[in-house]
Subunit: 218 residues, 2 copies
């Protein structure tokens, strides 16, 4: 057992969430043991429950921190004004897929609501999607300067759809990389990123075309 | 109160599920009342609970029936050998979106797992996706005769991703059509179908191109 080290409240909380992200990221929810977390942190199980009253509360705290990180890792893509907007988009997808790769099990479990999604978790997922959508809009504004995007428009709906494409294919990708017999055929992150970025361009171009067509009719 | 009519067990069950699909389709889960269902069916609340021990069990039965219907409505697209494969695909998407339109609230609630997804519901959703995927594969085989699709391959992952695109954009579309202030800008089902079908072609073409490229390298 590691030597007990005195940490202040915030440090301890951070340490536990760190351990939780790792644990929930590498095995199913039901197999994550608070005992093991306590042991790894070098504290008693009771002290863990002092910070997080239930395993579920602990899980939600880890999910919340994970969502914050995925967003900041994408925001962190250098806003290099010399890089073409399309390359910036590709770089952002790379960061997203890197996060998915590292936290595979947790990501797939969460997005599948395999542990019984509750309101709080649904809210975290929705908020994260909204932030990603806002980032996407900013990037797309440079790629398609003429796009007038309005809430509820075909373009808005198509962009939300693309986030669904990214999430679903990420889940399928995680499944593939985790299955021993499929590992060999699994695409690389770069291949998946190329298909996702090309899909976005096609989807946005199609939505803009349809909208222009219907405006022409009116 | 409607006159009580004697129905046999199967007929009664079918009648209740029919009413349930309508009710769950038009208001949030928490607002669906078993009292109202019993009244509409012309039977006692107790008799409803005889068929379905809990509201949740009743909900699951309705979801299961809804999933069966969405699949059969898509399968029912006339296998018209004179129609081009792309038109058949478009017709299938039309049927899917028609189902989404009619059962808007239930569809959005279910896909958001807003009522707390449990294992059974997750299984129904997963099974439905698998059936849709099988139908999609059949159709794509005609559109891209050279496509060798292997479980876990980029093409397989991209197709699962496309199902996610269809689901997410359908949810966003339902939200838009239900919001009074957005109704005006909401795209038509035909516009959404066009974007979804064009997206599929772009996604599959991209996945096939990446896979060919990587095979070339080996």
């Amino acid at each position: 057992m590691p030597r007990r080290v005195r940490l202040d409240v915030d440090e301890r909380r951070t340490q536990l969430v760190e351990l939780g992200i790792e644990e929930f990221g590498s095995r199913p929810y039901d197999e994550v043991s608070i005992d093991a977390i306590a042991q790894a942190a070098g504290i008693s199980k009771g002290l863990v429950y002092h910070y997080f009253p239930t395993k579920r509360a602990f899980y939600i705290a880890c999910i919340r921190e994970g969502a914050t990180r995925i967003v900041s890792s994408i925001e962190a893509v250098p806003d290099d004004s010399t890089a073409a907007p399309f390359d910036q988009l590709r770089a952002a997808i790379d960061r997203y897929l890197e996060y998915v790769r590292v936290h595979g099990v947790a990501f797939a479990t969460l997005m599948r609501s395999g542990v019984g999604a509750d309101k709080e978790i649904t809210e975290i997922i929705d908020e994260t999607r909204d932030v990603l959508l806002a980032l996407l809009r900013k990037g797309l504004g440079e790629l398609f300067p003429d796009a007038v995007e309005q809430k509820g428009s075909l373009l808005d709906i198509a962009m939300r759809g693309w986030i669904g494409l990214v999430e679903s294919s990420s889940i399928a990708w995680v499944d593939t990389t985790l299955a021993k017999d499929l590992k060999k055929v699994a695409p690389t992150a770069e291949q998946l990123r190329d298909t996702l970025s090309e899909a976005l361009i096609a989807i946005v171009a199609s939505a803009l075309k349809m909208s222009a067509k219907s405006r022409g009719k009116k």
